[in-house]
């Protein structure tokens, strides 16, 4: 099987024998990019750091997205909204707050009533209660995702519907989820905690909010875990087998529905983490997930669809490139995403299957 020839390739073919790229083109391009990255990291260290943090949120989201797309064969445009759903579940588990007819109603059963639940860990803005709430959120989010898959995506896939139909269905899911969030928690943005956010300086790195280190580390650890699972376990191998050749997976006795279910469970953990961390970094608001959809898809495509490491790298690059180019003053902040998209287009032009996608 051949991936479609890149425009550069086609251009070369059109020109007949045409231009042959010098032998070490790829290596030179990589080395140059690395140099630019190092220069940017020194010259614009604050923005570079912000880029890494924003990027690790994109990364975590894109890893889940890429699994859902390549294994469960669902172009999941509701990804951002399921992330926000999970973020609100965390909020609810922690604070017990929902909207009532006259202002907020607070459930008597909630995690922040536990003794010491909100005492800050290290310089983070949260205590163990927040971590516990994340776990509760995953326990609530995963069944919702499984139900959405069972009653919406799976019937469509089973009927042989094309990607476009499933994409539109997932947009429907996105809109419905956003509506539900507005209904239950209202349109006013919320926060997990109202306290001041400590900043820390680790070693000689730029000073950032302590929570952001938490975000960076969780994103990294979860991506490593997912890669380990995919490449080192039997379940992971069967997931890659399904992504590679679903018919042959069936002919090997692998039950597609089981593998898909596990994919959604793993994606559910990623979605919960990504959504909650995103809300921790900024705030809880119903639209946030949808706004993020573009960079998340960009990150997944950038890295090569189906590759979690690629999606992770793609997320970081998109984050850093958009923050740093704005910091240079050459572009106004409004162009952040545009710059990232140009970077994406350049990569796709030369490597149609992304940085780490199948050749």
């Amino acid at each position: 099987m051949h991936a479609a020839a890149s425009p550069v390739e086609r251009f070369r073919q059109l020109r007949g024998a045409g231009i042959a790229w010098p032998r070490y083109t790829t290596e030179v391009v990589i080395a140059l990019s690395a140099l630019i990255a190092v220069w940017a990291a020194i010259q614009y260290s604050q923005s570079f750091m912000t880029g890494l943090i924003v990027g690790s949120l994109y990364a975590l989201s894109a890893v889940g997205l890429t699994l859902i797309y390549s294994i469960a064969r669902t172009p999941h445009f509701a990804h951002g909204d399921t992330m926000m759903m999970a973020a609100y579940f965390t909020f609810f588990a922690l604070t017990g707050v929902v909207i009532g007819s006259k202002g907020d109603v607070v459930s008597p059963i909630r995690i922040d009533r536990l003794p010491g639940a909100t005492d800050q860990i290290w310089r983070f803005s949260f205590g163990y209660g927040f971590l516990l709430a994340c776990v509760v959120s995953a326990i609530l989010s995963i069944p919702v995702l499984l139900l959405i898959n069972r009653f919406i995506y799976r019937p469509l896939l089973g009927r042989g519907s094309g990607s476009a139909i499933i994409a539109v269905a997932s947009l429907g899911v996105a809109i419905a989820l956003r509506g539900l969030i507005l209904l239950i928690w209202g349109a006013t943005p919320r926060k997990y905690s109202t306290g001041i956010r400590d900043t820390v300086q680790v070693w000689k790195l730029p000073r950032v909010v302590a929570d952001q280190y938490f975000i960076l580390v969780v994103a990294l650890v979860l991506t490593i875990l997912v890669s380990w699972l995919l490449f080192r376990t039997k379940l992971g191998t069967s997931m890659r087998a399904m992504a590679d050749n679903p018919d042959l997976a069936r002919a090997s006795g692998i039950v597609a529905a089981d593998v898909t279910r596990w994919t959604w469970i793993i994606a559910g953990v990623l979605i919960t983490a990504a959504g909650t961390l995103l809300a921790l970094q900024s705030q809880l608001s119903a639209d946030l997930g949808f706004v993020l959809l573009l960079p998340i898809f960009a990150a997944a495509i950038f890295g090569g669809v189906g590759s979690p490491q690629g999606a992770f790298l793609g997320g970081l690059i998109i984050g850093v490139v958009s923050e740093v180019t704005v910091a240079t003053g050459l572009f106004s902040p409004g162009y952040k995403i545009a710059v990232a998209m140009v970077a994406l287009i350049l990569v796709i032009l030369f490597r149609p299957s992304g940085l780490m996608g199948p050749k």
């Binding site: 099987m1 039997k234 191998t237 069967s238 890659r240 087998a241 992504a243 590679d244 050749n245 018919d247 042959l248 997976a249 069936r250 002919a251 090997s252 006795g253 692998i254 039950v255 199948p358």
Partner: protein
């Protein structure tokens, strides 16, 4: 030959793609220890028959049985568990997976003796043994076919369905594939094989069937088919 109960029997199979009926009542039988080859012109429905037997296409009429047990409506997953191995005509390996992973996926549902079986399959294809960590997509056509057959053998199937195992291989490579099929058969696995290379396939087979336009045309011992003037003229291109 009727006093031996067949391993696999497909009787009066009607099947096709959606409303398009391709098979109009095809019957084939495989006896224990046999290699049976199905030949016929392009589009005769040979692949369709294998897919119908293997539950990849709905069987609208007719019956399939394995060791006398009706398996007509079983799902593919359950047919694999019942002891049928299938090597498709195309896309028959996980090309982004390594050889080792391909074989392990073949044994995915196996609880016991996975390692033993893995070693056994590798010993059957010594060429693969030294390259177990290589991506299957990078292998030559012949090696890929070995992986495909090896994967299907991981569950110790009672019968192996092979769809054109020699297609697009060099004469030398296809010779080797047929040799392997014969070896596997010698170790006790029955085989039902569809082939373009009728001469070579029939040469290692016990019996053969000729399909055309979704119907049985001829059947008999492989040597009779090879010797029949009609079959030679119409289907063997001799």
């Amino acid at each position: 030959m009727t006093d031996v109960a067949p391993i696999l029997s497909a009787r009066d199979i009607v099947s096709g793609y959606g409303p398009v009926q391709i098979l109009k009542g095809v019957s084939v039988e495989v006896l224990p220890g046999e290699i049976v080859t199905i030949i016929g012109p392009n589009g005769a429905g040979k692949s369709t028959l294998l897919k119908a037997i293997f539950g990849l296409l709905p069987v609208t009429e007719g019956h399939v049985s394995l060791h006398g047990v009706d398996i007509t409506r079983l799902s593919t997953e359950n047919l694999v568990r019942a002891g049928i191995g299938f090597v498709p005509q195309t896309n028959n390996v996980f090309s982004s997976l390594t050889i080792r992973e391909n074989l392990l996926m073949g044994g995915f549902i196996r609880d016991e003796g996975l390692q033993d079986r893995f070693d056994w399959v590798v010993s059957l294809f010594p060429d693969l043994g030294s390259r177990l960590s290589e991506k299957t997509g990078k292998l030559s056509g012949g090696q890929r076919q070995m992986v495909a057959i090896g994967r299907a053998l991981m569950l110790e199937p009672k019968i192996l369905l092979l769809d054109e195992p020699s297609a697009s291989l060099s004469p030398k490579m296809s010779e080797m594939v047929f040799e392997k099929v014969r070896e596997i058969n010698g170790l006790g696995t029955a085989a039902l094989m569809v082939e373009q290379d009728a001469q070579r396939a029939l040469a290692i087979s016990h019996r053969g069937y000729v399909l055309a336009a979704g119907e049985n045309r001829y059947e008999g011992p492989a040597s009779d088919l090879l010797g029949s003037d009609d079959v030679r003229r119409l289907y063997l291109g001799a």
